[in-house]
Symmetry: C2
Subunit: 255 residues, 2 copies
């Protein structure tokens, strides 16, 4: 089997290294990852600049391809150009920080998995719910179980899965929950600052915080309760519930 590994924290991130350590026991793993951190790039792709591709080394050996682009770029160029073999699975992560609720749409980690699915390759995104002192060991082992599941049991291979793992000791994990994306949204605050030349600039403060407005049985609520969450992702952005109502109301637009 041939896996393509990527992330949005950059090619030397510890989460990617942990992922490689586990998955390379089951498959040939090609790393194609951003040269630099790409958090919150959403589903960006690079059209107006070239993608520089560098052979990155680690401990004196080839580690992977470092790409001057986004996670979605890495998956595109990895599948189309850099992998010598057809790719059986794309695995994105392990992200430092959960990707749940509305902020899934800002997630480079998840968009890499989505891009794999768009190109016809089964794909999972794996994130660990902590921002610091991360122990990726269990998350990486679970990613390996997820990879086997994707290729053997899963009836929905064309649906990318967004996996979030609590940052607690393994024995405290309550189970695995298949859940929808929550609706809790970002509570952002801009810091207004003055640069050395007296120009005003703004900086989105800290990490986005999830706010109220959350329902039950969502990715965020179950993750906070201690479950591993799995959310199937759809890249059709149509609001089907709105189609009919909108059709009935557009009379004046037709004139």
């Amino acid at each position: 089997m041939n896996f393509l590994l990527t992330n949005d924290d950059g090619i030397y991130a510890r989460g990617l290294s942990a992922l490689y350590g586990e998955l390379s026991q089951d498959a040939e793993c090609l790393i194609v990852a951003p040269e630099a951190e790409q958090s919150a790039v959403g589903h960006a792709i690079t059209l107006t600049r070239p993608l520089m591709v560098r052979r990155a080394r680690k401990n004196g050996a080839f580690w992977g391809y470092a790409v001057s682009g986004t996670p979605a770029d890495c998956v595109k160029v990895g599948i189309r150009e850099l992998s010598q073999e057809p790719v059986d699975l794309v695995v994105s992560g392990i992200n430092l920080g959960a990707n749940v609720g509305i902020n899934v749409i800002y997630s480079g980690t998840v968009s890499a998995a989505t891009e794999g699915a768009i190109l016809g390759v089964p794909a999972i995104a794996v994130s660990l719910d902590t921002r610091r002192d991360a122990d990726f060991a269990f998350a990486a082992r679970f990613a390996r179980r997820m990879a086997r599941f994707m290729l053997r049991e899963n009836p929905l291979k064309n649906v990318p899965l967004n996996v979030n793992i609590p940052a607690v000791p393994e024995e405290e994990i309550k189970g695995v929950a298949v859940v929808k994306q929550g609706r809790a949204r970002l509570m952002e605050i801009f810091e207004r600052r003055t640069d050395p030349r007296d120009n005003i600039y703004y900086w989105l403060a800290g990490e986005p915080q999830l706010s109220e407005g959350e329902e039950e049985d969502t990715d965020m609520s179950r993750l906070q309760e201690g479950y591993i969450t799995i959310t199937p992702i759809y890249y059709d952005l149509t609001h089907y519930g709105a189609l009919e109502k909108l059709r009935m109301s557009i009379g004046e637009l037709k004139s």
Copy 2:
């Protein structure tokens, strides 16, 4: 009324100017747009760098705020910081080129409208189906009708609308169709090149081309037939159709 105008082609793009010319007849219009072209940035937001905000001028007068970020950044900082009044409507565009099919997920134009909706503001994205020699006059007039529709008739104010307009003379437009997002996907080709120092790089060639795999009655098919298309957008990425099947198949993951 107070409108926030943005785009992904940059603050001096002709499509934005055309939009302003029409909408400013009905409302106070504040322009907050990217300093530079931001095509295909998807729903990226800027966390790791500050957002520089410049008062941009045109013909000797204040034109709007130029932001060193993405369309979603512009909407966030525009609504939260730059607008002196509550924003009644976000209008993104007029984009040079259609935003239909799978490539909606790469669209900065559409993500700006989605960001407005996430922040609780009605929002539309408007795109014109041509890459060159664009005549934005009719599209801008239609955007004005859409803006009025959003604020008066539309029962779904919290649902952002993705509007695509054929680049044909007004009398050849066949009507207005409310349609789902199509599934035709990008057919990308990477050009492999060598830089002046013999390094390999890749460049995603030309504009993404929509390929086969298209159904009937979608944004792409109706637009090609000569209809103005309107697609309601949902930013819940859950694949609801996959939830149950996945729940039944994850037995081995729970052990």
